[in-house]
């Protein structure tokens, strides 16, 4: 996967350890005016989302556009979308770590931070969807006066365990990776930031004993996060595949969802990295080669997703099941044809452009493509959830769902919520891993040119 670079050329381009610390610490300086303006915009959008949520809390779920039989709409679509976004973070930080893929070091922190905040956003949606968010704790098994327990045979409950485990483990993984970096930043910081880093570096000094335990712990966390990431979106897919709704009840769902999740997540990493490397001036660390590798990941997962789309239609035809066939015919030519064709164009067709090296190495082209993939992946979940539910078995029970302003506002608010955390993190903690970027550069040796 890693792009081959000539050793001499590599050596000349390599920064020293000191330069790495200096350049990455520089990203944490006083925020610019543009940063505050962006933060203000995000807060305004978030306020709109919060207002819509409070409106729903006050007046009940009737203000959402739910129309029987479509009782899973934008909220569940957005939940699956954000869980999906989270996936590439763990792929880049854990799976590529186990494969000893050196190129991941510059981009993995951004991907990992994105993961944590995306799961944090996703986790809100089942609560918003059930309406009475103040009873959210009913989802968890806890001793209660009614002496009853939750139903562990329900995939919805598997989801509670999978998503909360994912949030916990990915947060722990992020914090563990951050500790040596925060210690490096601590030495350069002054004022309140120094206090912050002194506390959050947990007394890290990089002693031989600390590294001895740290390296092992990090390896095992990566080894645990790898099957976890595959399980989480499989479990999310079973929310649908375990039901007998035409268009949902298929064994292909778990791998199809996992590939789609990584696909959308990589697209979001590209969307975030392009402005980030410019604003933080870290072009030296996040290079075109990194983008090309991300583009290859996009191409691979995009092709798996495109294959899954084709196989879904094939299975509907080959099964001989009239309801399944009708469901898929409705997807392509029914009321929601525009959503289906948006999904197919953005996810199934556009990524084939990445076969061209010129596009893989063009950052503006990748940025635009990543926006299309983000859009397409949201629509994929919309098509799977809403379109399937709107067109089940009985023609007299079919219906049409149009999201209300409350749902659109909460969807917009979720993006603001995600970006709010991302922006706050980006100015206070290193978005490029100082330690891991150094790690791939050999330590200077006596007799060689000093770095």
């Amino acid at each position: 996967m890693a792009t081959v670079v000539e050793p001499e050329q590599q050596k000349a381009a390599q920064p020293t350890y000191h330069e790495i610390t200096r350049d990455i610490v520089a990203t944490l300086g006083r925020p610019s005016r543009a940063y505050f303006m962006l933060l203000a915009f995000v807060l305004v959008v978030l306020a709109v989302g919060v207002f819509a949520l409070l409106w729903q809390v006050r007046w009940g779920l009737g203000v959402a556009g739910y129309t029987p039989p479509v009782l899973w709409g934008v909220y569940i679509t957005t939940f699956v979308f954000w869980v999906g976004i989270a996936h590439s973070g763990t792929l880049i930080s854990a799976i590529l770590y186990l494969f000893r893929s050196a190129w991941r070091t510059s981009v993995y922190r951004t991907a990992e931070v994105m993961t944590v905040f995306a799961v944090l956003t996703a986790g809100l949606f089942p609560l918003i969807h059930v309406g009475r968010i103040w009873y959210a704790y009913w989802l968890f098994p806890y001793p209660n006066q009614r002496q009853l327990w939750v139903n562990f045979k329900s995939p919805l409950l598997w989801d509670v365990f999978a998503v909360s485990t994912y949030l916990t483990v990915s947060t722990l993984f992020l914090i563990v990776g951050l500790v040596p970096d925060v210690a490096a930043v601590r030495e350069k910081a002054t004022g309140w930031r120094r206090k912050l880093y002194e506390i959050t570096s947990l007394g890290w000094r990089g002693t031989d004993q600390q590294w001895r335990h740290y390296v092992r712990a990090y390896l095992y966390l990566a080894a645990l996060a790898t099957p976890l990431v595959l399980s989480v979106h499989s479990v999310v897919s079973w929310d649908f595949a375990m039901a007998i709704v035409p268009g949902w009840h298929a064994t292909i769902f778990a791998p199809y969802f996992v590939a789609g999740a990584i696909y959308s997540g990589v697209a979001m990493v590209v969307t975030l990295l392009v402005p980030l490397r410019k604003v933080f001036k870290v072009e030296r660390y996040i290079t075109v080669d990194h983008f090309e590798n991300l583009a290859k990941l996009l191409l691979l997962t995009g092709m798996i997703v495109a294959y899954a789309y084709v196989v879904e239609y094939f299975m509907a035809w080959y099964s001989g099941n009239p309801f399944e066939r009708d469901s898929f015919f409705n997807r392509a030519f029914g009321d929601y044809w525009w959503a289906t064709w948006t999904m197919i164009t953005c996810n199934g067709l556009l990524p084939f452009l990445l076969f061209f090296r010129k596009i893989r190495r063009s950052i503006p082209a990748l940025f635009v493509l990543s926006l299309f993939v983000n859009l397409g992946m949201w629509f994929e979940r919309f098509v799977i959830i809403v379109v399937s539910l709107s067109h089940e078995y009985n023609p007299y029970a079919m219906g049409h769902y149009t999201p209300s302003w409350v749902e659109w506002s909460i969807l917009a608010g979720s993006f603001a919520w995600f970006f709010l955390w991302f922006l706050l993190f980006a100015k206070n903690f290193p978005m490029v891993s100082i330690t891991e970027v150094k790690e791939i550069i050999p330590m200077p040796r006596r007799g060689r040119r000093e770095s």
Partner: protein, 168 residues
Amino acid sequence: MSGHPGGILAAYQHVDSAAEAIRRLKSQGYNDLIVYTPVPNAEIAQAVGHKTSSVRLWTLFGGLLGCASGFALTLWMSYDWPLVVGGKPVGSTVPYVVIAFELMILFGAGATILGLLFNSWRTRQRGAYDGRFSDDQIGIFVPCPVERRPAVEEMLRSSGAVEVRVET
């Protein structure tokens, strides 16, 4: 009061010089030295000669405990509040694999963190430190009594230290 034992603190720029100094110090019986590096390094780890960390056992036991807890939790709660559906078992292990798997990962990761914290605390090293060791230099702190300091200082300098200073 510095809060650490007195000794010599040396800074190195070259990893092989530092590894050589560690080997020489260890051969002379200085086994409680502290080595600071900005990144983990195999050559230094080999010179220091630690055994593999026991964090792995924490991960193993955490994972096993999580898996067992997952099955125990689901089966006990199913029989405590039976949802009787005709012909189907009240406690059905197949769907509970999902819960057991997730708890295995959760407990395994939690135990790994606890293992990391506990082991780091148990093997904590007290010695002088310099901020450059988290930037680009390798540090070696050798706790030693006053009478041995000139010899250690000389040895560290001769092995390529860029800076050597006495810490009291």
